[in-house]
């Protein structure tokens, strides 16, 4: 088991390096001429520098940027500097706000985390519960109703559902206020008031997916030979169900970990609809502002979260399934 964890850890480090390098290549090496040329910039006409310099920059500024970022140096030197800075937690400064990108991301992390953790908690609890009840009372009214509800869920895109609910609750019923996000630390009640609708919107699709998955898994497991064995030895139905759940819910752990990891990197659509100042909306803003350091920072951040989630899931899975642990 220890070996297994070490192996997974090494993998995670390698994956992180890969993500960092890929991002480097995409943002610094690949961009060719952007079509804009700055008169008089001469040697300094690096497309990245021009992009970073903003609209109609003076050649001196571009040259300055090239020097500061070392864009005139060979690629490997640039790469070394870039990785070195990252390791010190330096992701550069936002062109738009001049704030360190790291600070911008961490300032916005609580909003994204509130959204992701809250929503994922809702979909996990309800999705799994609905799935279990549907499977155990198969073909009942309860089962059919929840599966219809789930089918609607998987067919509804988040942006559509979000916009409809905003229109309904904010526009018509006036029981919700878009753009009212308050951090939990300053006012927990206001925080809750601002978060409940985004949670529902974000949770609904996943809840439907989880409910269907749990139901399907459980029905499949209930047909397994070892469940028949459990019954044949005279276990109470409660214990039999426990045996079945142990197998049926293990894949849910994997899926939940990965989904949460992805969300922590920013829930772009939901954050935008509800005007939640999270990492997703930071990324969207950065793209529209051509704010390269911030785009880079959010991309890396999301990537790292997915890697961490994978790591956690792998370890959790091994502790649940002895076949993984002992191989």
């Amino acid at each position: 088991m220890f070996q297994y964890i070490v192996r997974r850890l090494i993998w995670a480090v390698i994956m992180t390096l890969l993500v960092i390098s890929t991002v480097f290549v995409i943002f610094f090496v690949l961009p060719g001429g952007s079509g804009r040329n700055i008169e008089g910039a001469g040697k300094c006409s690096s497309p990245i520098a021009i992009m970073m310099a903003g609209r109609n920059p003076r050649p001196a500024l571009v040259c300055n940027i090239v020097k500061r970022l070392g864009l005139d140096k060979p690629v490997y030197v640039q790469y070394g500097r870039y990785v070195g800075n990252l390791l010190q937690g330096d992701m550069g400064y936002s062109y738009h706000s001049s704030e360190p990108v790291r600070d911008a991301i961490f300032r916005r992390l609580p909003a994204t985390a509130s959204l992701a953790i809250g929503a994922s908690f809702i979909w996990l609890v309800f999705g799994v519960a609905i799935g279990i009840v549907s499977a155990l009372r198969r073909r009942s009214f309860m089962d059919r109703a929840s599966m219809f509800f789930a089918l609607v869920g998987v067919s509804l895109p988040t942006f559509f559902l979000g916009l409809v609910l905003v229109f309904l609750f904010d526009g018509r019923l006036n029981i919700y206020n878009v753009a009212s996000y308050q951090p939990i630390t300053s006012d927990p009640v206001a925080w809750l008031k601002s978060m409940w609708l985004p949670w529902i919107v974000l949770a609904y699709v996943s809840m439907a997916v989880y409910a269907r998955m749990v139901r399907g898994n459980l029905l499949e497991v209930m047909g397994e030979d070892y469940i028949r064995t459990a019954r044949a030895k005279g276990l109470r139905e409660k214990s039999v169900t426990r045996h079945a759940l142990r197998s049926a819910l293990t894949p849910v752990v994997t899926m939940y970990g990965l989904d949460l990891g992805i969300l922590l990197g920013g829930a772009v659509i939901t954050e935008s609809i509800f005007n939640i100042p999270g990492i997703g909306s930071l990324a969207v803003d950065a793209i529209s502002n051509q704010d390269l350091p911030t785009i880079l920072g959010t991309t890396l951040f999301a990537g790292v979260f997915v890697i961490i989630a994978n790591l956690v899931v792998d370890i959790a899975y091994a502790s649940l399934d002895p076949r993984v642990r002992y191989s």
């Binding site: 030895k233 005279g234 109470r236 142990r246």
Partner: protein, 341 residues
């Protein structure tokens, strides 16, 4: 013989309604199993041999099946018990082992814990005591290093060991009747021999009854005292091993015996049964075997023959006269020995 009747199945019908029609898996079945004997049930897939026993254990969902008849276990009709009463019998007085030992143990729980669980669900005792009993049982079914093996997971066991563990699990409460459903089919020949020997040992040691369900006539002939041949949900022939294998009276039994390549003599050409087993939804009228039977006559597609002794010494379900049966089997035997020499 004044042996105790452990299980008596009377006119059992198990039908499953499906979208395609009513599947008549078991359709009027009668047999008895005595204490201290190994009772073999042979038949091909779809003959109803497994469904019968799953029904006895209450492992067929009553909502999905139409069940009628009686299954008397030590005088008590299992079909009349509610699910909790049935659960108390299951695993305690009536135990079952299945075909595929690879799939029959839960992969996430230690083998020992699965045994302990089986002990504790019928008997209150401290967990430690249950664990000791489980370890003893593992040892008694021939698992080496039972203490260490207790803590292993099923995937760390070989196929033969898993089947041994399954047998240990079936024995935790000294059941009166052990139902073994194709217990050796998934195992290699040499391991199969070990498991059969173990089941035999257990039967004698605990003086229990064993129902051995298999498609392998060789296994049956080696270990069973009496045998029931099933075809399409009904009994075709029932008797002692010698009666059924030496002087069979039913054309289906003849066909089975002649289709099997023998290990002990260089076979001549096999005589297969023509056609394939019938659909359980649209069974042929009359005797379900008649479309494949080379000896059929007018009566065969009119009425279902009852299983009874027609003078041949043991019950069978075929309309041919006893003289005809003896003559035809003698002829078929003669043809075979002639071809072999």
């Amino acid at each position: 013989m004044a042996q105790e009747v452990l299980l008596e199945v009377k006119d059992l019908h198990v039908h499953f309604p499906t979208a395609d029609g009513l599947v008549k898996a078991v359709d009027g079945l009668n047999f008895k199993v005595l204490r201290g004997e190994t009772f073999g049930i042979v038949g091909e897939s779809g003959s109803g041999k497994s469904v019968t026993n799953l029904t006895a254990l209450g492992l067929i969902k009553r909502e999905t099946a139409q069940i009628s008849g009686e299954i008397l276990f030590k005088g008590q009709d299992l079909l009349k018990l509610n699910s909790e009463e049935l659960r108390k019998v299951r695993g305690k007085e009536l135990a079952m082992i299945f075909q595929d030992p690879f799939a029959c143990l839960h992969p996430f729980y230690r083998v020992g814990d699965q045994l302990v669980e089986a002990i504790l669900c019928h008997e209150k005792m401290p967990k430690k005591q249950a664990a000791e009993r489980a370890t003893d049982l593992l040892a008694s079914v021939g698992i080496p290093h039972p203490k260490e093996r207790f803590r292993d997971y099923p995937h760390q066991y070989s196929g033969g060991m898993r089947q041994r563990a399954m047998i240990a699990m079936a024995l935790v409460h000294n059941p009166d009747l052990l139902i073994a459903d194709e217990p050796t089919t998934a195992l290699d020949v040499t391991v199969q021999a070990q498991i059969i020997e173990l089941i035999e040992k257990v039967k004698t040691e605990f003086n229990i009854g064993v129902i051995l369900i298999t498609h392998d006539l060789g296994v049956i002939a080696d270990v069973a005292q009496r045998v029931l041949v099933m075809y399409a949900g009904r009994g075709a022939e029932m008797g002692t091993i010698d009666e059924v294998f030496k002087s069979p009276l039913h054309p289906y039994t003849w066909g089975l015996l002649e289709s099997i390549p023998r290990v002990d003599s260089k076979g001549t050409r096999l005589v297969p049964i023509e056609g394939s087993p019938p659909s359980l939804i649209n069974k042929p009228a009359g005797c379900a075997f008649h479309p494949r039977c080379p000896h059929r006559f007018e009566k065969c597609d009119k009425e279902i023959p009852a299983m009874q002794d027609r003078g041949g010494g043991h019950p069978e379900a075929c309309y041919l006269s006893i003289e005809d049966k003896k003559r035809i089997w003698a002829e078929r035997e003669a043809r075979r020995t002639k071809a072999a020499s």
